[in-house]
Symmetry: C2
Subunit: 592 residues, 2 copies
């Protein structure tokens, strides 16, 4: 069975050496010194290794079952959920007035990585609750906040997001679930929602569903949609649970992975719902949640890759097969460990350099969200809005690839479920799909975010990279290995953006046919930037005569690998983009 150890040293490096979060001019950040965050991360790591990771395979094997309308989670999930509740983990970054600890989102994200690596399916019960809390805090009335948020912060209750219907996935304007106003100000919600993660379960006494539905008078398409709170059990004015609401589970889907999480068909049959946010502006309410939700899914991509990578390393050190071509490394044994072989190394370096770059990218994104939400930094808000589809799309595509690479290290054993490597891949696969399939992320990036506010944010990004390169221009030690490759990659990205501007005007397909390539290219430039920043931080720490030089030297070597072997992919993506839409759109639909 796979094991998991939280990479706290690595997370600490990003939080402090790279992002220097304690120095950020955001209220409360000055307290975030190394010892403080270390204590939290260590404790989260303990819960992850001892409680969550051992249940990961259990959840995969048992799955959830629906009996007499009630969803039962896998054995042991209830105990683990109680541990999450008792530890107060869900409230880490929720305001203190609602029972949370008010710590920054970046720290909640770091802790989230640890939990997701240990058990992705399990962590979704909490993750969706956190998302629902954010929605209610952003759009709910004071009464709604007081009624729902404290119980959800403490995980006595959980939350869900209900968007998709059988005929309306990406195209939410087609949704049909109805909301009929009643005299008491509530609405009767009727319709079917599908793919509802954590839709029902036995882990909490109540579930607060957030449901998109169509109230009268809003017109067709997305404009007519509003957001409603639909509790599984209605809540009395004294906070106690009242009547069972008319919402039920139609079935649990049989999925490729995340078996431990109940993905439900939810039937609303005149269920009582309460409008939250403005009438007919439910889509806008959902959109304000999107940066966090999509960052959370990008995190799932690299968190699964991290867990898979850790086990691939253990196996590669342990499995004896063949000899090092430059001379035996284990001469007294029957063969050398396979970690001696260059192609195994290549694969492990691919995985390692991706995961560490992705972690820095994600925590940087979370830090930008803190700047935006807690320090009213509009530039940070614009930048993270631009980067969100990249974090979601690139990290889940590449994260899945990394789980496949890790599985491959095991040879035949990787294909056998008992060894657990298949589960990492099967679980990671969903992150490319939900919360907006990655093609939609690419469309969002190229069709919307690039031109947002007159292209201001992408120009600011290029300017930031330029300034960064200029600032470190004199750093001869890092120039060839880090700064020059970043410069070249950034130039490729600019050339692609320029191509879209010039050719996309004439025919938007010239931009959209290159959207996924652009997203990947952007992802590489961001990871290249992260690696350059990590290299500078590592070098600085090394020069300061640190106590842990091996860690820092490894960081530099891993970064060099990424810059030499991964970052050059930007040139290929540019070439594809510049080939335009003609070959992509050449065929009639009937000719496929």
């Amino acid at each position: 069975m796979p094991s998991y150890t939280a990479p706290t040293r690595d997370i600490q490096f990003v939080l402090h050496d790279v992002l220097d979060i304690a120095a950020a001019k955001i209220s409360g950040h000055a307290d975030l010194d190394r010892d403080f965050t270390a204590a939290i991360l260590e404790e989260a790591g303990k819960v992850a290794s001892e409680v969550l990771a051992p249940l990961n395979a259990v959840g995969d094997t048992m799955g959830c079952r629906l009996e007499n309308g009630v969803v039962h989670t896998p054995t042991g999930f209830d105990r683990a959920f109680a541990a999450m509740r008792d530890g107060g983990w869900n409230g880490l970054d929720i305001p203190e007035e609602f029972g949370g600890q008010g710590l920054p989102y970046v720290l909640g994200t770091a802790v989230g990585e640890i939990f997701v690596s240990a058990n992705m399916a399990f962590n979704m019960y909490q993750g969706l609750t956190h998302g629902a809390v954010s929605a209610i805090l952003a759009h709910g009335t004071e009464e709604q906040k007081a009624t729902y948020v404290p119980k959800m912060t403490s995980l006595e209750w959980t939350g869900t997001m209900n968007l998709t219907e059988p005929h309306a996935g990406t195209d939410l304007g087609m949704l049909r679930t109805k909301a009929e106003p009643r005299n008491d100000g509530s609405y009767a919600i009727t319709g079917q929602k599908i793919f509802i993660s954590a839709g029902d379960h036995d882990l909490a006494e109540n579930i607060i569903h957030l449901v998109l539905a169509r109230a009268p008078g809003g017109g067709e398409g997305t404009r007519g949609i509003s957001l409603f709170i639909v509790p599984k059990f209605l809540v009395n004015t004294d906070g106690s649970l009242g009547a069972r609401n008319a919402v039920s589970v139609g079935k649990i889907e049989e999925k490729m992975g995340i078996h431990g999480n109940a993905t439900c068909v939810m039937d609303y049959d005149g269920a009582t719902g309460f409008l939250t946010g403005e009438l007919h502006k439910g889509m806008r309410a959902m959109f304000t949640m999107m940066n966090e939700a999509r960052l959370g899914v990008g995190l799932q991509g690299y968190a699964q890759a991290e867990a898979a990578y850790q086990n691939a390393v253990i196996y590669a050190r342990d499995r004896l097969q063949g000899r090092d071509v430059t001379g035996p490394k284990n001469p007294d044994g029957p063969a050398d460990p396979i970690i001696v072989h260059p192609d195994i190394r290549r694969s492990l370096m691919d995985q390692k350099s991706f995961v560490e770059g992705a972690r820095a990218f994600t925590l940087w994104g979370a830090h930008l969200i803190d700047r935006s939400h807690r320090a009213d930094d509009a530039a940070a808000e614009g930048l993270v809005s631009l980067l969100t589809p990249v974090i979601k799309g690139f990290l889940t595509d590449k994260g899945f690839d990394a789980t496949i690479a890790a599985q491959q290290v095991y040879g035949g054993h990787g294909y056998i479920e008992e060894w657990g490597m298949s589960q990492f891949a099967r679980d990671a696969r969903i992150a490319m799909i939900y919360e907006g399939a990655n093609g939609i992320q690419a469309l969002d990036l190229v069709g919307r975010k690039l031109a947002q506010d007159g292209g201001k944010h992408v120009l600011a990004f290029f300017e930031m990279v330029k300034t960064f390169l200029k600032e470190h221009d004199g750093d001869a030690a890092l120039k060839a290995d880090f700064l020059d490759p970043l410069k070249a990659a950034s130039k490729d990205l600019q050339a692609a953006a320029m191509y879209f501007m010039q050719k996309g005007m004439k025919n938007p397909n010239n931009a959209l046919a290159g959207s996924t390539d652009f997203l990947h290219m952007f992802g590489h430039v961001c990871l290249g930037l992260m690696w350059a920043r990590m290299a500078i931080a590592a070098q600085k720490a090394l020069d300061a005569d640190t106590t842990d030089p091996e860690f820092l030297k490894t960081k530099l070597a891993t970064g060099r690998y990424y810059m030499a072997r991964q970052l050059p992919a930007t040139a290929l993506h540019l070439k594809r983009i510049q080939s335009g839409a003609d070959t992509v759109m050449a065929l009639d639909a009937a000719a496929f």
Copy 2:
């Protein structure tokens, strides 16, 4: 549930317009006119669509079960196997004297694609039998051939290959299964084999296991290994079945996919075995089988991609979501079919251009095997030996990627098992691993095949591409779209080979660290060559005023896509290769 329609028109195009198999100077090939092969392919397509494809999901869901030492296959497999037996499909390319039809291997391969696309797990029972027949025909005594081959050709009996042991996968030199000589000339085989596909089942009355084991006097490592025939039931001199042999199933593995095929732990407990081939030369005997076996696995990669692609196209034409950005294509409907969206097109073109290129590559490989085996063409033998790891590694890596892309077209529905797209990906995954994991293919290519016979075969390959380009130098219509990109890609491949020669001498890791990149690069050049050949064939047929111009124009358009969007990957692979081994090998094993 997914459907499947055999792409007979496409296969015919490769067999006749591209490879012109009827004109090959190989005995029997003159009879292979279009009508003849069409009749066979159509019939195979019928069996595939009507009998095999409907059982694909059944096999996945039910799996195999072991009860009282007997393996039971999924419901309906027995009926389907009877259909394969009655149709004489396994004997298509087996010599007539052993009950086969003696048709070329290339035709057997084309039919194989159809069966594998329809039901990969099911087809393995037959595929492994075919491999075992090849081994016995190549190495067995006349008596062994007469005893086993006719019954295996007719599928009354099936066959298996037993190589791997728990501690000996790639490194077969470590295997421990013992073969102790008995006075009657037979051997007592004792040991445990794992990952034995089709190891036991209820589809045939006997199973002929081919087992690698260590007989006394051969020394250590691979030199001491011999190949044995170990029947499940011993065969009496009159051909009837005798005593049950001492071989049993330890367990069936729970796998990520191919659930319909029983992957068994096989326990040999003094089982009676018969030496086949020379004593202590079992590895060499296995190697002669390898080209065919590996080509068959490469075929699985693109055959699963074909099946997944077909269904992705159906879904993309059917699913209404969003609007064409250049104007509605289905103005009377609530939305346009998603096939209008450029990023969906890009994905479908990726899949289509890969599958069709891969088909041509594989059938070309099979044709080279015919030239080698049936016309004693040593150059063809050398070439296919060089290309075999490329066919196996590249087509299974890219084939798996294509199944993931096809699954992605379905959005959330792709992740739900009911829709069947997950199974294509889970089944295709194994092809990257078995019959030599793809890293081993890359090692075989770079460490062995490149330098084989003084590098003669790779030089011949480059010469062939050069001659081809020269021959069509005047073809202005195809120059920019096909010939120039092929020339550039081939130049990249030569530069990589040159780099290996120069830097690999000093340090072999400089070559091995680039082995997977080289394999992929080689694969792209081969598919580029195939597309150039297909373009020329299509243009020629178009010029000849054919009755099916749409098919041929689609072929040209699909080829242009591959050349513009996929082939340029060679430059990235070259760049990675030329970055050398330093960044790959920088870390101590403990630093990962």
